[in-house]
Structures are given as structure tokens and as C-alpha cells.
Amino acid sequence: MKRINWKKFGLVTFSLPLVILIIMIASMAEYVAPFDPYFLDVMVMLEGPSEKHWMGTDELGRDVFSRIIFGAQVSLQVGVCAVLVGLTGGVFVGVLAAYYGGYVDQILMRFMDIVFCFPAILLAVILMANFGTSIFNAMLAIGIIFIPGFARLTRAITQTVQRQAFLEAAVCLGLPGHKIIFREILPNVLGPLLVEATVAFSYAVLLESALSFLGLGSQPPEPSWGNMINIGRGFIDQAPWISLAPGLALFFTVFIFNLFGDGLRDILDPKLNE
């Protein structure tokens, strides 16, 4: 009987409960947050962490902890949607390039390679400046940036799958192109794409916060970690918790999702396991 290498499950075992916790907190923000994130209380402006306000209050007397919890909702929404946009676009381009090969492959992938060379934050900033500042546009802009990465990975895996005997069998059986792509190729590329999607998700959360920090993502009074850090900068000397607390939440979330991505890679990538 083949022995299970438990060592490779270590990172996922550690990070998965925390990933679930973050997702649960974000999806049940209304029930978890002790205060309304928009509720202004001028009597407690810039108050430090206390029993009532665990992470203090901001310049308008709003509870920082509650705003961080609602900020998680925004970050996770943007992360998921951006990854979905990138994944859909990337898989479409990657499979198309690998399946048809030749000029289609050359043109599509050369274009993807060039877009991939652009610094992500620069492209995101330019796209947001044009699309206009909103969460929806942030999802779209970040998603577009992810397309080349997913396309390159999908193409590489599809080319490996194409060399497998079962695909030759499918071609010999005379299955039409769309059936080969959807039934034979796509199910086999999902594993490695899942790993890439986890890493892309944490990067999307970082990018959304960076855009909001620059005033190009979600707009105040909407609670977003990026704009909370930015607003807090103005009060950093009197009330450092306004910037530091959402930054810690962002850092922790990105770190946990990156660990989860590494853990998934340990399990799903047999080359690394060896």
C-alpha cells in the first residue's frame, strides 16, 4: 500500500482553517461586526483601542474593527471576481492557443507575453483612471491584468494534456472540437489553475487595496482596507491604529492565502513533491 506523505499536507492543514475563518467573517460581516461601519459618533473621535472599540475609532468616530470586518467583504469580493474574470479570459485564450496552435498560438501568446511584461500596478492605475473609480471597475481592471498569467499556464498544461493517449483516442473517435475542449482538456487543467487562482486571489486583494489607497478603487465612506490605511495616514501621529489595524488585516489575509496556495501546490504538483 502506498504510504501517504503527510508532510505535504502541513501548510494546507495550517492555513485552511484560517482561510475558512476569513471567508466566514467576511460573509457574515453584518452579524460579526459589533457596530455599523458607517455610524458616526463624534463623541468618540480618534479614541484608542478600548473594551468597547477593540481597534479604536477613526477621525469620524466610526468603529475601526467593524470597518475592517466590512472591508474584508469588499476585498474578498474583488479578489473572487477579479480571479474569475482573469481565469475565464485566460483559460479561453490559453486553450484556444494550444488547441489551434500555429499562427493563432503565435499571435495570441506574443500579445499575452507583452501584456504580462507591464507592471501590474501601472496597468491597473491606468485602466482605473479610464474606467472610473468603483469596486466593479477595480474587479474588471485587476481581472484583465490576470488574463495573460492564466493564459500562459493554461496553454502550457493544455499542451501537456494534448500529448496524452486519452486525447488522441478522443480525436480518433471523431469528437468535435468543443467537446474535446470541454470534456477532455478543461477537467485536466483545473488542478494547476486552482493553485494559480489562490495566489492570484491574494495578489488581487493586494492590488485592490493599493488602488483604494491611491483613491482609485472603492471610495469613502465605503470601508476598504486600502482607503482606511490612506485616510489613517493623515492621523498617524495621533491615532496610528487607523492605518495600522487595516494594514495588519490585509497583511494577514494575503499571507494566509499565499500559504494556502503554497500548500495546494505541495499537494497538487507532483514534481515539487518529489
Partner: protein
């Protein structure tokens, strides 16, 4: 060798052309937005038409691009919508600041990554390897703009060791210049070191598996000499050539860090272009950043090919 250089150069030129097209399209993706942005929402259709005609924005996009690209090759990036000042000289003035900041940050990242990555690679699959890899993930997960805020709070406001922002030109005071760039460079460098540690680790693991290391060990070479003369020497070249790509990404990250520290580089000019909806400024500054990134990638790729194509291929895989 010349064949490789010529081949790479031939593929570099179309890359720049396509990159400039993508950038031009990204900046002009919403038709008419520049006029509306500059003149305000209450601008009359006639005023918008006049503005567009004056700046040639009423022409088809491909003609606008051809016009812009033709002038850009000669160094003319147009004039600002806001103050009618030539954009080219302003960008040229800011490029050295950004390159200096990115170079300092890259230097810091290398100083962190080489010893840690080498240690992790030498102690592959041991506890210290796991600890360093986790540390690399920790560094890579840090939002650089938050780290910058944290550093300003601690080292500028609390201890008063560094300025909270601004830039002292290198020619005015070397020490002052380094002092003004220290915190921004740490903010960028520490985050970049996350990826570089992993690259260095992979390079060392690759070297450790090669035959010449086995030969050196069997000849009785001591651990210190084995590391410095055999492992480090053979790992550092693929590390630098692959890691140089990170320098390109570092240049891209200056957009946000220059804003936090109010450094007058190209990154902050991109934001000025966005805030004022000054598209000639935005286009020229973004193109300058993209060119630097592409050039660094090109040089890294070329040197990798020239030094040893096999080694770099292995590290990349």
C-alpha cells in the same frame, strides 16, 4: 554571440511597438473622457468639440497613435493639457530619481535574499529551509504602501531618524539624498526580497545537485570553501539574471511608493497625469516606466542567454 544579440534585438523592437500600442489604447480606451475630465462635467458640447479638435482627439485612434508614436521616436511626447509645458523634458528629469530609488531597493532586496536564499538552499528540506521559505512568503505578502506608512510612523515620526517624505537631489547632498530614499527603498526592497529569496534558493538547490559539487565534496573541500568557491559562485549568476526581472517589477511599484513619500519620480508623474486627467503626461510617464521594465527584462534575458542558457532554464523551471 552576435547572432543571439541580433535575434533578441529583432524581437525587442516589435515588443516596444506593441507595448506602446497597448498603453495608448489603455489610456484612450474611453472616447472623449479626456476633454470631459479637463473641462469639467458642465462643459458644453461645443467646448468639448473645440478641445478635441485643438488636441487632435477627434481623429481616429490609429491616426492619433501614428502621430504620437512618430513624434515620440524623436523625443517629443507632446505638451501637457493643463499647463502646455513640454512633457518629454519633465519625464527625462524624473527618470534618474526613479532609477536611483529602484536600484537602492533592488540592492536591499539582494542583500536580504542572497544570504537567506543560500542558507535555505544549502539546508534544503530541513527546518531552516521551511522557516526561511515562510519568511519569504511573509515578506512577499506585505503591502509595500502599508510598510511605508509603518516605517514613516516609526523611523520618521517617533525616532526622527529620517524625513517623512520629499527628495534631496544627489548632486546637492549625497547623504541627504540617501537619507531621503532610505525608507522608500526599504519599503520596496523588503517586499521584493520575498520572491528573490525563492529564486536564490532554487539556484542554490540546482547547483548543489550538480556533479562538480559531488566532485568537490569527494575531494575533501571544506564546507566554507565549498559554499563560497563552488555553490555561491555558480548560483549567483542565474540568480541575478532571473532576479533582474524583479527589478522591472520594482520600477512599476514606484508609482505607489513615490506617492507615499512625495518623491518627484516618474511614478508620481503617472498619478499627476491621472489626477489631472492629463493624458500626454500619463502616456509619457507610463511609457517611460514600461520602457525601463522592457529594457531590464531584455538585458536580463540576453545576459542569461549569453552566460549559460542551461543554468537559467533550470532555475526558471
Amino acid at each position: 554571440m552576435w547572432k543571439i544579440i541580433a535575434g533578441r534585438l529583432l524581437s525587442f523592437v516589435p515588443t516596444i511597438i506593441i507595448a506602446s500600442m497597448i498603453l495608448f489604447l489603455a489610456v484612450n480606451v474611453v472616447p472623449g473622457s479626456a476633454a470631459r475630465a479637463v473641462l469639467g462635467i458642465q462643459a458644453t458640447p461645443q467646448a468639448i468639440k473645440r478641445f478635441e479638435h485643438k488636441h487632435g482627439l477627434d481623429r481616429p485612434l490609429y491616426i492619433q497613435y501614428a502621430d504620437w508614436a512618430g513624434k515620440a521616436i524623436k523625443g517629443d511626447f507632446g505638451t501637457s493639457f493643463q499647463n502646455s509645458v513640454a512633457v518629454g523634458p519633465e519625464v527625462a528629469k524624473r527618470i534618474p530619481v526613479t532609477i536611483l530609488l529602484a536600484s537602492l531597493a533592488f540592492g536591499i532586496a539582494i542583500l536580504i535574499a542572497v544570504p537567506l536564499g543560500a542558507l535555505a538552499g544549502m539546508r534544503h528540506q530541513k527546518m531552516s529551509d521551511g522557516t526561511i521559505t515562510t519568511l519569504a512568503t511573509l515578506f512577499g505578502s506585505t503591502p509595500n504602501f502599508w510598510l511605508a506608512t509603518l516605517l514613516i510612523y516609526l523611523f520618521a515620526l517617533k525616532f526622527g531618524w529620517f524625513p517623512t517624505g520629499g527628495y534631496v537631489p544627489f548632486q546637492d547632498s549625497v547623504l541627504g539624498s540617501l537619507k531621503s530614499l532610505c525608507l522608500p527603498a526599504i519599503s520596496l526592497g523588503l517586499v521584493s526580497s520575498g520572491l528573490l529569496i525563492r529564486i536564490m534558493r532554487a539556484a542554490v538547490i540546482e547547483t548543489m545537485e550538480s556533479n562538480h559539487i559531488d566532485t568537490a565534496i569527494s575531494k575533501g573541500v571544506g564546507p566554507r570553501r565549498l559554499f563560497f568557491s563552488h555553490v555561491l559562485r555558480n548560483s549567483i549568476i542565474p540568480f541575478l539574471t532571473v532576479g533582474a526581472v524583479e527589478f522591472g517589477f520594482l520600477v512599476g511599484s514606484v508609482v505607489i511608493i513615490e506617492d507615499v513619500f512625495r518623491i518627484p519620480g516618474i511614478g508620481s508623474l503617472v498619478l499627476v497625469g491621472i489626477i489631472n486627467r492629463d493624458y500626454p503626461v500619463l502616456l509619457a510617464a507610463s511609457m517611460a516606466i514600461t520602457l525601463i521594465v522592457l529594457l531590464v527584462n531584455f538585458l536580463a534575458d540576453l545576459s542569461a542567454q549569453l552566460i549559460d542558457p542551461r543554468q537559467v532554464k533550470n532555475v526558471r523551471n
